[in-house]
Symmetry: C2
Subunit: 431 residues, 2 copies
């Protein structure tokens, strides 16, 4: 009898099935034992009566948490169960029974303890639905762009140059040369867009930031797209369509997981109705100032500012046309006001912070060199990037999305470390 | 008039269209000028007659390679063209005209020169179809596993431990601790499989190997899958199904690109008919020895051995049950012969070498500790990995596929550096 997975159990009501998994939890109510069995796709409850099946009852009573097992039995409809069914087992074969108690009980633990046990923590509670939602967010991003004729590509991780300065770079020895871990694939995606048209990727990015906040990890996954023949306005349009698509995709495919996390798929969908509001940076500063924040034109936003803006709109909001001095050299200046860039950040609802940063890219060779000289960047290392403006430069634009930020928001997670299987933080390299 | 992409031009025969792209090449035949325009999705030929459109002819005659432009015109059927059509332009708007000649002409250049110009080289010749095939290989891998209920995940890139020894590791300073760039996500995928069931990912992997061969790069993309409740035999079955699926997917979606590279989609499909042959390591050594190779039981295979095996079979071939001493600690020993492992390598046809390495994993705590002690590995650093055998251990198996090796094979490329947008080699960190 081939095994089925728990997410498909409700398609087998009345049938004999085999389930392979782990004992997640166990409780008894007098002469009835309830086993929660998990297999990664879901959790099913097996009900064993001491009266009807006393040998099985005795065997099951001795099982401890995270015992691996193969269970055979009949699927019964049960409207109260999240899976819509339960199992009436006829046999249990134990594969491996732990010698010591599973270290994570289902009560509260400190974050430090849970992160030390991350390899086991991911088997429990909210972590399985979060990681299943993460899978759907990644797939949604890729599907969106593939459906629009974009080509998937990869940027190098090891680079001799860096996009946003060297203060937050991880450096390593590369056969006697200095190399850095990439903070963004953008510059390489620009080169690839000039070869392939529209491109996208999801890859790891690294920032050696010492900040310990609930929104920062040192290794994160960035999802980027770069489009030839694209301007600032079209860039924002595709970003809002993307975010709306991802939410709709996840709300459809991972409805049960969202509900397990206490998230309402319909409410998430309502948050991302198009179009998203666009406000000018100066307007944002003004609104924040009026709301009591101590902020003036030229200041960057911190978490409290982003939270206030999010609260004002209740849905994702673009803040556009930041002062040029605040932003990297590659952003195109607004022709109406050289002191501003044709770029925008997208702020997530509910205080989850910036999820996208994007811009039209400077396509003039002379202007790009001028920006680089202003910021005292080494022109030599960027010759290849400057070549993109020497040979058939075109208006182009793109953006980067922090995947863990998006997962944190959709899951309503308290900390970004739960949005990635094995988070890396300033004091965390294990497991 | 919204722009169309060149791959969709044949759907607009007889219509007026706009195409945005770059001038790839130009030739004239007396009073007729032929412009090859590329946009990343394909190349279309625009035909301009000096008699019918003399002003346009004069303008076009002055255009240089890699000029970016917007061209309007009528699509005409042309059975001789790879796109099935050509363009009869009515106007050309130049976006940017290079001041200097494009450095890559369409003749021969040295590999070193081309790699220095990689950011421009990817616009030319075989490079565009190779990168478009790469996109399809990546998508095929993900589609295969998603369709089978696997969950996409990510392993960390920065690790405190390593899977296969430290001699070929890139090391870096991580806030005062030593960290290494991952050579494989396998150990983490094993942990995730115990939480989510069946998992897969594609991520970057790093090997600080000093070897300069046409099959090695220091940064490559590894595609891995890990399956709970899976044994060696089932592991090989899913690998051969995967490879067959990828070839079929690429032959279907990228038929034109394969043909541009001189590869016959039907011949590739014929190479991957199921099942793939499985030969024992001892048998492989015997065959190689008889074929004149100087090899004895216990030796690893090099490129010449792999090439001979490939030639013997003319299709992918599994070599299984390698001597335990040659293989990493995590491979499960064959219960019939402890000196062998339940693992296999998959050798690609045509001398493209090993494309997959996989095994059933050791699921016994005691056996795993014994293997680690034999290989003098630090038990402390692997406590989290050992925990997977302490708490509900199950038979499980998995494998890793070198994506650039697969792309090189399918494209018939001469060197792996062409199978990735920006290759990293021992002497190559730029661009």
């Amino acid at each position: 009898m081939p095994a089925i997975t728990i997410n498909h159990a409700r398609e087998h009501i009345g049938e004999q099935v085999t389930i392979q998994g782990w004992l997640y939890n166990k409780r008894s109510s007098g002469k009835i034992l309830f086993l929660q069995v998990r297999d990664g796709t879901g959790v099913i409850q097996a009900v064993i009566s001491a009266v009807d099946t006393s040998a099985l009852f005795d065997q099951a009573e001795g099982l401890t948490r995270e015992t691996s097992l193969v269970m055979r039995g009949t699927v019964r409809a049960d409207d109260r169960a999240p899976t819509g069914c339960e199992l009436q087992p006829t046999s249990i074969d134990v594969i491996h029974s732990p010698d010591v108690p599973f270290p994570i009980d289902l009560k509260e633990h400190t974050p430090g303890f849970l992160m030390d046990q991350r390899h086991l923590w991911i088997r429990t509670g909210r972590q399985v639905p979060i990681l299943r939602i993460r899978d759907a967010v990644f797939r949604a991003f890729r599907q969106f762009f593939h459906d629009r004729g974009f080509i998937a590509t990869e940027a190098p991780i090891l680079t001799g140059t860096s996009v946003e300065g060297t203060t937050t770079l991880f450096e390593l020895d590369y056969f006697g040369d200095k190399a850095y871990l990439s903070q963004s694939g953008q510059l390489y995606l620009e080169a690839t867009a000039m070869a392939l048209g529209n491109v996208y990727w999801i890859g790891p990015a690294f920032r050696a930031e010492k900040s310990k906040t609930r929104k920062h990890i040192t290794e994160f996954w960035i999802a980027e797209a770069e489009m030839a023949f694209c301007d600032h306005a079209a860039n924002l349009e595709i970003q809002e369509q993307l975010v709306s698509y991802i939410v709709d995709f996840v709300a459809g495919e991972r409805k049960q997981e969202l509900q397990q996390l206490g998230r309402d798929p319909a409410a998430l969908r309502a948050q991302v109705k198009l179009p998203f509001p666009r406000i000018d940076y100066a307007d944002a500063v003004d609104r924040l100032s009026k709301a009591g924040h101590d902020i003036t034109f030229g200041d960057d936003f911190g978490a409290p500012h982003e939270a206030t803006l999010a609260e004002m709109f209740g849905r994702p909001v673009f803040v556009e046309r930041f002062p040029s001095a605040m932003k990297p050299f590659y952003m195109k200046r607004d022709p109406k006001d050289e002191a501003r860039v044709l770029g925008a950040d997208l702020i997530a609802p509910e205080g989850y912070g910036e999820i996208i940063g994007g811009s039209q890219r400077e396509d003039s060779y002379a202007a790009l060199v001028a920006h680089m000289e202003e910021q005292k960047l080494p022109l030599d290392a960027y010759q290849w990037y400057l070549d993109l403006r020497r040979f058939g430069s075109v208006p182009h634009a793109g953006f980067g999305m922090g995947m863990e930020r998006v997962v944190t928001w959709l899951c309503g997670a308290a900390h970004i470390r739960e949005a990635i299987p094995f988070a890396r933080q300033i004091n965390r390299l294990y497991p």
